[in-house]
């Protein structure tokens, strides 16, 4: 199996305060910790597991500038075989179409059987790059994948639906799969892994190398144009219960009892 995994470096905003820049066009990034997109990490792990079971090679790719290189090295240390950086400069501000066009050049030029990506990213969360890329390539795809098993020339997958339901599909290869969190337990990076990749060269490909013309990607080429960012309106706020933990617990129990809970 030749597998390409598309990864992205994103800010961790789950537990962090997100502050708009004064120009309203972006967020302040200084105080945010950046790392591999959570969904992508599961995709990398899944790719490595497929390789471990069936042989082949795993290549990770990102569209980024030099400060994204650590994310690629991290994937190599986990067990990916190769990494490719597509120079992100011209892609600055690209919408999912621009990103998918950049990745198409890589996926099409080499004989991959599978392209894996996260089902979405923790920053803008479009969830589009995977299926759009598959559409460009004319490959089969499945989104929100929760398990993968490789068969002869095909893959059987499950997709996560709503209400605790999954569906089972079989796809012809080559295919693009976008991976849902929880599909596996991603491994830690080991020191052995880091050492193995210490001298690994990560090629940086420019636009021409991925078959794109100047100006074909980036903010000015976008189909989806960001007009403005704003902080969502506060809306209804909960009535806050304050006090010591004991006082709070008493009030919670009052509410619980009022609604017919506890003896």
């Amino acid at each position: 199996m030749e597998i390409l995994v598309c990864v992205k470096k994103v800010p961790d905003t789950a537990d962090a305060e997100v502050i708009l820049r004064p120009d309203g066009k972006g967020i302040k990034e200084d105080d945010l910790a950046f790392g591999i997109n959570e969904w992508d990490n599961y995709a990398v792990e899944e790719a490595i597991r497929i390789k471990e079971a069936h042989g082949g090679r795993v290549t990770v790719v990102t569209i980024g500038v030099s400060d994204s290189e650590d994310v690629l090295r991290r994937c190599l240390a986990m067990g990916a075989d190769d990494a490719i950086m597509i120079d992100g400069g011209p892609f600055a501000g690209s919408d999912p179409y621009g990103i998918a066009r950049g990745l198409r050049g890589i996926a099409a030029a080499r004989a991959y059987d599978l392209v894996l990506a996260g089902a979405q990213a923790g920053d803008d969360g479009f969830g589009m790059v995977g299926p759009v890329l598959a559409g460009y390539l004319g490959w089969s795809h499945a989104t929100l994948v929760t398990s993968v098993s490789v068969e002869d020339g095909k893959v059987a997958v499950t997709r996560e639906l709503e209400g605790g339901l999954e569906e089972r599909l079989r796809l012809a290869l080559p295919a693009v799969l976008t991976v849902q969190t929880g599909i596996n337990e991603p491994r830690y990076v080991s020191i052995m892994g880091i050492r193995k990749v210490r001298s690994k060269e990560i090629p940086v490909l420019d636009l021409a190398k991925v078959g794109l013309a100047a100006g074909s990607v980036g903010e000015n080429a976008n189909v989806l144009r960001r007009i403005a960012l704003s902080v969502p309106p506060a809306g209804k706020e909960a009535e806050m219960i304050k006090g010591t933990p004991a006082e709070i617990a008493r009030k919670i129990l009052d509410i619980v009892r009022e609604r017919g809970g506890v003896g």
């Binding site: 997100v18 969830g127 209400g163 569906e167 506060a234 909960a238 806050m240 008493r250 809970g261």
Partner: protein
């Protein structure tokens, strides 16, 4: 008059609720921006669904074919491509769901029509469409326009619009011929699987104690179980707890887990991702405990407590004891 199409989502013999939320949005686009709503129902044996939708909109386009019995992006996208080409709707709406996420970005790549996913607000600005998306874990709203104005594919986040109430319009149903599927299929539907098999049915519980990422470690699960038992509550959780395999899928509340409507919902250490909140809509009293005063869950709860969940858990255990 420009048209707005609703792609009805159905599964296992029922129209999914999100479809009715799109009806509300389409009606809003009709009244505010004079778009003409129509529904599209694709599948096999879907006349009853078409009949239901015909009571909401003037026209329902029905594509009935055995090959459409189970949803696959391949066949559904082929049908929609054909419809879009011939009917030229300005806007096509679909729920942001496992169905919409699989179908619409692909359809966009195949038709060249721009797609914006996971929108929480959709409106017209003159002749052009403008959408609002919620990004960075719900902490920022992003307003988007489109470079072209030839037609849009939009998926809408569940819960962004209220579902349409029952209606009694006498809309028409138009049988639309199913286009021929040329090449051999690349995808094969094999069946459904209950991922949340288990003995607990959290959807029936009147009182749920729900834990999230804040529980931190599998070692702490027994503490939550003990408190749930003392409270007479059933233990449920948010997605991260299931992803880490600390509790079974059958206990997960949210769009990809169970939808619940308990009389009482006590959430601890849950930040309140919209997928989770969508799973408890219509619940009774909702109390949230979280350390982060800015957690989105406080915008959904009736009562909020900004405190370490373990302190509150311990205090609750003590208070019940006395």
């Amino acid at each position: 008059m420009a048209k707005v199409f609703i792609v009805a989502e159905h599964r296992q013999g029922a129209i999914r609720d999100a479809t009715y939320e799109l009806v509300t949005l389409a009606r809003e686009l009709e009244s505010k921006f004079a778009l003409e709503p129509a529904a599209v129902v694709i599948g096999h044996g879907v006349r009853p669904f078409a009949e239901v939708l015909s009571r909401h909109v003037n026209e329902t386009i029905m594509v009935e074919n055995e090959a459409l019995a189970d949803f696959r992006y391949e066949t559904y996208a082929a049908v929609l491509r054909d419809i879009i080409m011939k009917e030229t709707p300005l806007v096509v709406l679909c729920p942001q769901s496992a169905f919409g996420m699989e179908l619409f970005p692909r359809l966009s790549a195949e038709t060249g029509r721009p797609c914006a996913t996971d929108c929480v607000q959709v409106e017209m600005d003159g002749p052009s469409l403008v959408v609002v998306r919620s990004i960075y874990n719900g902490k920022i709203n992003s307003r988007l326009a489109f470079a072209s104005s030839g037609g849009y594919l939009i998926t809408v986040r569940a819960g962004s619009y209220a579902p349409a109430a029952e209606a009694d319009k006498a809309g028409t149903i138009r049988d639309y011929p199913c286009p021929a599927f040329g090449e051999p299929f690349k995808t094969e539907f094999l069946g459904y699987r209950e991922a949340a098999a288990g003995t607990v049915d959290i959807s029936q519980a009147p009182f749920l104690l729900s834990i999230g990422r804040g529980i931190k470690d599998t070692e702490n699960i027994p503490k939550a179980e003990e408190l749930a038992a003392k409270l007479g509550a059933v233990l449920s959780c948010s997605r991260p707890v299931v992803d880490k395999k600390w509790l079974g899928k059958e206990r997960q509340v949210g769009t990809s887990g169970r939808t619940v409507k308990p009389k009482l919902y006590l959430a601890m250490g849950i930040s309140g991702a919209f997928q989770h909140l969508a799973g408890i809509k219509g619940s009774g009293t909702f109390i949230a405990v979280n350390r982060d005063p800015k957690a989105p869950i406080f915008r959904a709860a009736d009562y909020g407590v900004v405190e370490d969940m373990f302190k509150i858990m311990d205090a609750l255990k003590e208070q019940i004891g006395t």
